[in-house]
Assembly symmetry: C2
Homo-oligomer: 187 residues x 2
């Protein structure tokens, strides 16, 4: 599919985590449109699985949405850091567990209509316990979760971020039921 | 979990789609930190399923990541528009299909560490064909996909956005295999 050509580019915001770019692009038919793009360094998530199948999640307050979520351990990639090193580092910082046994499960873009953040999801087993050392502005609570609790936690919105939902669905092979929301015309 | 209190708030960018807020927050222990937040109106995705089980996806160029992806039909919510109405509108615009049969499968935040975008994912069946009428800057190609093709499309990164990965995993109950990436110390 033919790409859009950038005609002009502005950078109205350059933050510590994200940068905003506004591109004027030319469509293949010659028309021009504006595209707002958030640049993000990318992130990794790690689903830690204990020998008995228990999943190790973390509860964390998320200021952007004003509440706490139950998530897989995760973090933003640092400049020049490869994804596997980042995964091991975040796993150790947030849960204390160390491992050499890492599987790449899936990678995806969180919202490619306007952001370039790519997320790489790993599964970690053969876990060795150790001391946690979260980043200085992270408040984390480690929460062990059994696989059979996951569908209810997703349905109730306690697990509700893309990386954790993707990781848990993909690892456990869960089919979600959902609920009928309309069987007649909506006003 | 105790929330963070906003001490100061700035709005360095106010775009057509997104707005950026930089909040100075006070942590429960009294320290102050900065949080960059992207405000987004929220979006819906719809997985359309034909009577024989064929899934109706759309291929679309995504400027933010510089390539085309195969996605479920989706779109941004308009001011005051409820999610089900938005889902039916986007389904009709992007594929031509109309339906009254809609199921809410799951809802999630795309990246709650720095963005407030919530995505609601529906499944639609009992589809009635009609004419497509995509938005004037959208270039879309409708692509029918069989369920058994989905794991390969995800593994090859052709299906690679959070809403489509979540929708397809949750609807089909797919377990992804992944690949081992390390069994020894990483340098």
């Amino acid at each position: 599919m033919q790409p859009e050509t950038v005609v002009r580019s502005e950078r109205p915001f350059d933050g510590k985590l994200i940068r905003v770019r506004v591109d004027t692009v030319r469509l293949p038919d010659g028309r021009e449109r504006q595209r707002e793009v958030v640049e993000h360094p990318g992130a990794v998530g790690v689903l830690p699985v204990l020998t008995d199948g228990t999943l190790v999640l973390v509860r964390q307050y998320r200021h952007a949405i004003g509440r706490a979520l139950l998530e897989i351990p995760a973090g933003t990639r640092e400049p020049g850091e490869d994804a596997e090193t980042c995964a091991r580092r975040e796993l150790a910082e947030e849960t204390g567990y160390r491992t050499e046994a890492l599987w790449e499960l899936v990678r995806f873009y969180v919202s490619p209509g306007w952001a370039d953040e790519e997320l790489i999801v790993y599964v970690a087993d053969d876990l060795q316990p150790g001391a946690m050392h979260p980043a200085d502005d992270e408040r984390l609570e480690v929460v062990p979760v059994r696989p059979d609790e996951v569908p209810g936690l997703i349905a109730r919105g306690e697990i509700a971020d893309s990386k954790s939902v993707v990781a848990l669905l993909a690892y456990l092979g869960l089919r979600l039921g959902g609920k009928r929301v309309g069987d007649g015309p909506q006003s």
